[in-house]
């Protein structure tokens, strides 16, 4: 069997189409105008606004904040996250969502099997482990933020719940673009959940999402065909390539990258030079579309 061996080489910076504007490092003066409100990543000294983290300056009307280049996930109400159960506790589950503190999923925030609406009893507490146990993956939405920064999650809608077969990817949270929906059924034949916390779930598309499927706790464990596996593997390589080249992740960018990658074999996408070319073409296509 032939094996590919490559010598180490100096990491190329990659061609930048234009120098990103607004890059600051701690201590840099953003503005001397006192009319602005200061947001995260800034501090005020001597009537001047300075940056306190290294990142990109963002301005929304009168609010100036600096988004750091790399950070743990800071949750906001309404975000969609993908997480893994780390602990089953009293009336709650602890979920790892790539944030500073583990998030909490309260027993009262999940749908009971059968879709019943009733007060949770002591029996439900004892049956918690049967619903979700350690190591399970779930998709959920952020309900609220506790005072110490921990997130409270809920799976109150039928689109959230335990995840079945698929691939989990971990990328930096700052690469996932905020959109109206994070659940995408891609035309190539797979579904993608782009969690705001940087955890991405790729799974085969289920044909008919019937609404009385026991509230999202039953996993679909039917065997997945080889073509679907191929699609999922290709998507995984594309998303990892996008993440490595620091492009924002959303349904259009993922789809274009998938389309430009079809001329290569799936395993060839793992080579850095091949991936660079694919990403380059995808980037050109995105710019053409004007997104």
């Amino acid at each position: 069997m032939a094996v590919d061996i490559r010598l180490p080489r100096k990491r190329k910076r990659g061609e930048l189409t234009s120098e990103p504007r607004g890059l600051v490092s701690p201590g840099d003066v953003i503005t001397s105008d006192t009319g602005f409100m200061r947001g995260h990543g800034t501090y005020m000294e001597d009537d001047k606004l300075h940056a306190s983290v290294a990142g990109v300056v963002e301005r929304v009307n009168k609010l100036i904040c600096v988004q750091p280049l790399k950070t743990r996930y800071n949750g906001e109400v309404g975000d969609v996250v993908v997480g893994r159960i780390t602990e089953v506790g009293q009336k709650r589950w602890r979920v790892d969502t790539n944030s500073r503190l583990n998030s909490i999923l309260m027993l009262s925030s999940v749908n009971l099997p059968g879709g019943e609406l009733r007060r949770r009893s002591a029996e439900d507490e004892l049956m918690m482990r049967q619903y979700l146990s350690e190591g399970d993956l779930i998709s959920a939405e952020v309900q609220s933020v506790f005072s110490d920064g921990a997130l409270s999650l809920h799976t109150r809608s039928l689109k959230y719940g335990k995840l079945g077969q698929g691939i989990l990817l971990k990328v930096s949270p700052s690469l996932v673009k905020r959109r109206k929906t994070h659940f995408h059924n891609l035309p190539c034949g797979a579904s993608v959940i782009l969690g705001n916390n940087g955890y991405i779930w790729i799974s085969p598309t289920v044909e008919n999402e019937s609404s009385d499927t026991a509230g999202g706790f039953i996993q679909n464990l039917e065997p997945v065909s080889e073509d679907e596996r191929g699609v999922i593997a290709r998507l995984r390589n594309c998303i990892l390539g996008l993440a490595e080249h620091r492009l924002m992740l959303y349904d259009t960018s993922v789809l274009y990258t998938y389309e430009t990658s079809t001329k290569y074999e799936i395993h060839e996408l793992l080579k850095p030079d091949v991936m660079e070319e694919v990403i380059h073409l995808a980037r050109l296509k995105l710019e053409q579309e004007g997104t």
Partner: protein, 218 residues
């Protein structure tokens, strides 16, 4: 006679390189190389803190300095205290009360100018972790030979032969001295000339962090 360096002159720094985000578990990590001296730093934080060590109004900074060989002793504690005080000046600890920020420094190879290499890599690791800081810092070591020549960024051979070794840490906003640590005897005039020589290079070092961090495409 002082030993000469092959790769650069006395008033130049050795080739520097830095890499961030190389470890997957810590919140921030960086490695910094000055010539052959290389140090790797990991930063965890803001995280939980023991009640006995917590401050109500600011974060608790802890530095652990691990030498390449041997058990950490008094001189390691001294370095930890120096680096901790330097970091407490620049990190905005008031934004994370009742939390802890842990900085772990591991010496990979010591070929002279170890303290300045540690401070530089700590700054890059704090930057990588996204902790709020008021400014960046740059550290430069210089040594005074017996003839009175100033050698910037000395190798360990040059440090052994030197009359005095001085390390300065400058902050990026006004280029003032935050930390100064010296070994050996020297006159006040020599002190000022060393400060000036180091300050010129400290300023250059502060500009480079922006070039080494990855850029994000919007």
């Amino acid at each position: 006679m002082t030993s000469q360096r092959a790769d650069c002159g006395n008033l130049e720094l050795r080739s520097q390189s830095c890499e961030q985000n190389l470890l997957s578990r810590p919140d921030g990590s960086a490695t910094y190389c000055q010539g052959d001296t290389s140090v790797i730093v990991a930063v965890y934080g803001p995280a939980e803190v023991k009640q006995s060590k917590e401050f109500l109004d600011k974060a608790t900074l802890e530095v652990i300095f691990k030498p390449k060989v041997g058990i950490p002793g008094c001189s390691e504690k001294f370095q930890e205290r120096l680096i901790r005080n330097t970091c407490e000046t620049i990190v905005l600890t008031a934004l994370h009360p009742r939390s802890s920020i842990n900085i772990i420094i591991q010496v990979m190879h010591n070929a002279g100018s170890l303290l300045s290499c540690c401070v530089n890599s700590t700054c890059m690791a704090l930057l990588d972790a996204g902790l709020p800081m008021s400014c960046l810092v740059a550290a430069v070591t210089c040594s005074l030979s017996c003839d009175g020549d100033i050698i910037l960024d000395p190798t360990s051979q040059q440090e052994k032969e030197a009359k005095a070794i001085l390390t300065f840490v400058f902050e990026s906003r006004d280029n003032e001295i935050i930390t100064s640590n010296t070994h050996g005897i020297y006159s006040i005039k020599q002190y000022y000339s060393c400060v000036e020589a180091c300050r010129k290079y400290g300023f250059v070092s502060c500009q480079s962090p922006l070039g080494t961090t990855n850029t994000v495409e919007q």
